[in-house]
Symmetry: C2
Subunit: 252 residues, 2 copies
DNA sequence: CGGTGTGTTGAAAGGTGTCAATGCTAGTGG
DNA sequence: CCACTAGCATTGACACCTTTCAACACACCG
């Protein structure tokens, strides 16, 4: 795990959105003053239970998921560096889904009350938090579309491209490649398929020269072809500008 | 279309969450002062275009959707009385998905700037709006799970139960029955299936005595059996209490 | 009364799931 | 340093849920 200055993750994320003042940056750093290390495969948030904290990932992967009868599982979304976990602890008493660490995790633990303080005192940061929440919603919408109206082949490639784009945006991808700690079984639970079929689909993508992969590592070899074959349009990940009326409103 | 006092929809929705003061109620009514009538099948919001307004539904149905190549379509969510449409106009410059009226629609049109005013001046209402956004996110999460890890039979029954519950919560269902303006084709685009298979699934549900339906109308005949058969747990729709720390914080 | 959208049904094809076995790799302990 | 184990990846054969294609029924509406 990289040795990061705690708090830099969120500053980076918001810097693409706002021109942060020194004051705002230190507010964000203060928000992330309490870093905690977690082991892989531990639940940060458990469905239907109170949500004690909000977190911001400094390093490692986590994922939101739901459990069904029969042991069926559905992954809703992955959480990477700079992403919030349990942001809705501020307005929900109980968790709507569980969140689990996929790798060892460095997270900043935040008391929901601190989020309320941000909303009260620093409107521009509050807007940035709302924007982050909206982006998470956009990712969920794309996940619905991926599962509901794409073939296994398209789903798999599309998700890989989403994660590549997201990893790039936090400087964790290079040369179309990134660390990928997701097992094929978890991939199946993400894309609504079986592990066996995920395996065959990955194999097809590999044999076509679109990707290469090994345990914990994935590389997109022909990004253009893969984007076209899977209908990937990164628009939903790239909204990095607030509406102009908002910019004017919250500056004062 | 019923003749509703404009603005009562949102007051009702938030009343289950907060004990609204007279002042707050009139603020909410003021927010909904501009009612507009729209015809069925018209787009309120179009993907990738600027979002001119936020809306609150007073009467009628709408749905969020995405379009893919090949004319494929995916419905993300339905919007009923009291629901927001385009809430993220406040923080996003462009729309992440389209929203279309399913029936004739009575909506209150809100300038996103007014939402900002609410956040600045009435923190309890701001919290309620965040709560509504969170609830929409929870519904998206359940939609992912429904499509990703349930059979056609389960998906169909599960969605019917969700809509029944949501219609009940805005007093539009009675005796387990409600108006249901969704065609089988749109249902298919909601559940990631084909119209033909939706037809067969509905037929099965009917023949088992779990539901009855006719054009524009649906009734759940055996709610308990249907809930069990489809694994429906309404928890994600029923969070009507803010965290205690929030309640304390925003009262002052 | 004909047109158009929606619902219904049958037969066949196909994508994905199921079952089961094998291979591979990393870690563990003797 | 080498068995041994556990977890994950890979592969084949077959079953089945869902799709596809096509035709027909029905209701509403101008």
């Amino acid at each position: 795990m990289q040795n990061l200055e705690a708090g830099i993750a969120l500053v980076n994320k918001f810097s693409s959105l706002l021109d942060l003042s020194g004051e705002e940056k230190s507010q964000l750093m203060a928000l992330q003053s309490n870093t905690v290390q977690l082991e892989a495969d531990s639940d940060l948030i458990s469905f239907s239970e109170p949500i004690p904290f909000t977190y911001i990932i400094q390093d490692g992967w986590a994922y939101s998921y739901k459990l069904l009868a029969n042991g069926r599982m559905q992954v809703l979304n992955y959480h990477l560096r700079g992403d919030f976990i349990g942001l809705y602890a501020t307005v929900f008493r109980y968790a709507e889904n569980s969140v689990r660490s996929l790798t060892d995790l460095a997270v900043c633990r935040i008391d929901p009350q601190e989020i309320i303080e941000v909303f009260r005192n620093t409107p521009r940061l509050a807007a940035a938090i709302c924007w982050a929440a909206g982006r998470d919603g956009a990712i969920l919408g794309e996940q619905i579309t991926r599962i509901g109206r794409r073939t296994a082949y398209e789903r798999t490639g599309h998700l890989i491209l989403e994660l590549l784009r997201r990893m790039e945006s936090v400087y964790l991808a290079e040369d179309n490649a990134f660390e990928f700690p997701v097992t094929q079984e978890l991939l199946a639970d993400t894309l609504g398929l079986t592990p066996v079929h995920i395996n065959r689909t990955l194999r097809t993508l590999k044999s076509e020269g679109k990707i290469s992969y090994s345990k914990n590592h994935i590389k997109v070899l022909d990004r253009k072809a893969l984007s076209e074959a899977t209908g990937f349009d990164p628009f939903y990940l790239e909204q990095t500008a607030l509406p102009q009326n908002l910019e004017g409103q919250i500056d004062g």
